[in-house]
Subunit: 535 residues, 2 copies
Amino acid sequence: MKIALAQINPTVGALDNNSQNIEGIIQDYSPKCDLIVFPEMCLTGYPPQDLLMETAFIAKTAEALKNIAAKVQETPVILGTIRQVEDKLFNTAAVLQNGEVIVCRDKTHLPTYDVFDEARYFVSADSRMPIELRVHGKSVKLGIEICEDLWDKDYETKVSRELVHAGAEILINISASPFHLNRLDERLDIIKDKSIDLKCYFIYCNLVGGQDELVFDGQSCVVSPSGDLVSLSPAFREDIQIMDIENCESVNRPKFSEEKQIFHALSLGVQDYFVKTGHKKAVLGVSGGIDSALTAVIASDALGSENVLGISMPSIYSSDHSIKDAKALAENLGIDFQIIQIKKINEQMLEDLSPVLNGSQGGLAEENLQARIRGNILMAAANKQGALLLNTGNKTETALGYCTMYGDMAGALAVISDLNKSQVYAVSRWINEDAGEEVIPYSSITKPPSAELKPGQVDPFDYDVVSPLVDILITEPERAHELVDEGYTLELIEDMMKKVRLAEYKRRQAPPGIRISPKAFGMGRKYPIINQFEA
Amino acid sequence: MKIALAQINPTVGALDNNSQNIEGIIQDYSPKCDLIVFPEMCLTGYPPQDLLMETAFIAKTAEALKNIAAKVQETPVILGTIRQVEDKLFNTAAVLQNGEVIVCRDKTHLPTYDVFDEARYFVSADSRMPIELRVHGKSVKLGIEICEDLWDKDYETKVSRELVHAGAEILINISASPFHLNRLDERLDIIKDKSIDLKCYFIYCNLVGGQDELVFDGQSCVVSPSGDLVSLSPAFREDIQIMDIENCESVNRPKFSEEKQIFHALSLGVQDYFVKTGHKKAVLGVSGGIDSALTAVIASDALGSENVLGISMPSIYSSDHSIKDAKALAENLGIDFQIIQIKKINEQMLEDLSPVLNGSQGGLAEENLQARIRGNILMAAANKQGALLLNTGNKTETALGYCTMYGDMAGALAVISDLNKSQVYAVSRWINEDAGEEVIPYSSITKPPSAELKPGQVDPFDYDVVSPLVDILITEPERAHELVDEGYTLELIEDMMKKVRLAEYKRRQAPPGIRISPKAFGMGRKYPIINQFEA
């Protein structure tokens, strides 16, 4: 039996374009295989969020499904979409054959945690039964499940097992499973366990592409009843694999470094954000520091260096090497580069603002003032060129609030906001190693990080200590007080916890950031601003 | 039987302070009544969002509950909190008596729509039974339910009915029910229906106070078995009423104008945002226009005029009357007032930005530049004084994207962002009428609205047409194409729908705004930025 895994990259809401893409694949691949499998909700794109509450959206999706079905001939198609029955909405796998939707199988487990919100929209399947399909003269019993149905550890209903016990010979999981670091290993482990335990082939078809904060990595796969990986689609791009499950050999599970995973995830996230919102050009501030350097490299990879403009905005506190490093980076990448001094603007602002600055000359207000002048310059450049501003902040500073609202926090998309400072360094070093040359200037990697907003300023954190600590506080807050045993002082831990809590009001207005960790700021972490809890 | 309705204003996460407040009330009121009822989750504050995923938060709440229970004597107390049983978390009503938590009743219906997210945190009650309580020698059967359990129209389980059928003599609902316009009438209608239908007293105890975007209005009440309203606590403030249900008279259902409801809701929302985040002073831009004028009045009411600073920032396009109106407003309110010219700063920016402005002198980039200079000035003033910047944008312009990120969209809190432009005018007129004098300058109300960012500019919308239209598109998008029958042109409808969709990226970075409608932007409306759906 030959199964085509259509790992596609749809756009949320683009029903016409998504349909066209799906129909093209059906037309091309139907003659070559016995079954075509598409990912979860690939007709609507995932997640469509509150579009799922619009009657027009539901109706037009149903119409689009019917039109696709009309073009399906003998080779059956499994396609992820939605279906409404009376006032109930299901996340469903539609099975299409001979011009019709012949049956649907609904999702049982609706993830409602982290970035997932499915209980807001959907109701659970009320039963789970295999379907019997006639494929090119032969009959086969398929157990169809959807994404979370695989991850059944914390649920009472074990969907995969129920399906096999009810006669399914092959399990098919259609997913829209977003990437985070080393997610592939977690997936392959659980699929392997299920295949061995239930003694059947496991077909897993995942979405690919960027959607706001999320990146879907694809990496669709097939695992044999003995637990061997026999097919693995590529990461971070559209791909269609035909798998003959009666005639296959095992393949090695690949081992990608974390730095490589991060780089390609972020590049796709940037690329799709631009393509899917109809933009081409990016602007970013390049300070000579490591964060903006890494962001510029990712942007160049995603958009082409000809579409990237880096602007250096030295203040009176900026060192010569800052401008030099920024310029070297731009030259290495071949991106456009401008230098705009902020000295005179800042002086004029300080003069005209004297009635509200109370005659004082230094302090946080004056530092932020400069950061916001830079934000304004960058937005003006972006507005004038129809470009999007890329934000260059990292997760550690975003966590601690070491950033200025409307200043360095400005931007349409935060490219590296889910990377802690240590990861920023690691990926930067990997880029140079991978390229075999200095893409990011070595001095950007080796010099101490600084916002250069006052004389001799360097970032007030030892990032080697603080980066991993802050990550733990965000991902596993329950471990906070155990961390004393791991060598952190109680004072530092409590100070960091407080900073994370108090910076919530800043993050509420932060640009969407591309998620690469299991717990990113943004849609998956919902904390109140008014919050007086001290753990 | 005398029941005390303790309509309190807790702070999310402030377990110690909330406990103290609750214990003080228990001490004071226990001798005077037979039962004290507190609102839903008033020990934790509502909604605590992802604090509910922290083990320390759950443990400390449990400890706080035990400490409160230890101080309860014979007079029983019903208190809204959370409880964990193995890995399940419940939203619960704890019943305290004689030093102990004697029983808990869990919430059945977990709202997961609009601003509510309860399926993310809680599991539903698995059973519903009345409790039998001995109160000062007598025995009474109480049916305890929580908030959404009352609103059972779309749920199969009818909690109130089940409880009465199982023997409950009195229904008690503890709520954290946020305000929106005319919400009181909706509540009293359904409570009246339930009381008459089930032939019992209905005791309803609601939270009061502001929490980020939400304002809880209180207005706790008691309705008799004949459907008469016999007690109604005040709106928008803490209050404790003792109700003797064997000895009560009906009271009139009050009728507050929408303008009055809005004004008091927003004033409490502002006040609590400041008090609960530890701030005192506010800064805002006062342009002479109606939006900033209304915001200034609300801020003065909430914080005291001595804590409000209005800054007028005329550009070369600003008319004389703008400054005059802004000044008159400040004088009427008695707030601090400063004028800061942006002309020179703007000129300096245009000069230094010439490499990225391509030599052009006018256009959106240049308009936004001025708006962002103003944002920077306001933030500098706020930073210097330890004040919070109030945002003055309204819902119509926020919907359509007629606003500048990091410019007029800056601010810690958006005061009137859930008021359409027509409501802004209506509340402004009501303020002057209510005061019997010109608080908001009449010319701010009568002149055409303008951003004054280019010569002779006025807002490009007929707000009388567009304000209600945009409201419908947000609240009831399914009606979009019917609106042609109501006199709107298809072209206008589709243009407005497109503008709302394309402005999503701006709103994602907007300050939290106080919700006064059933569908506000913010936590209750989750739309993707990448969204190509055209209805």
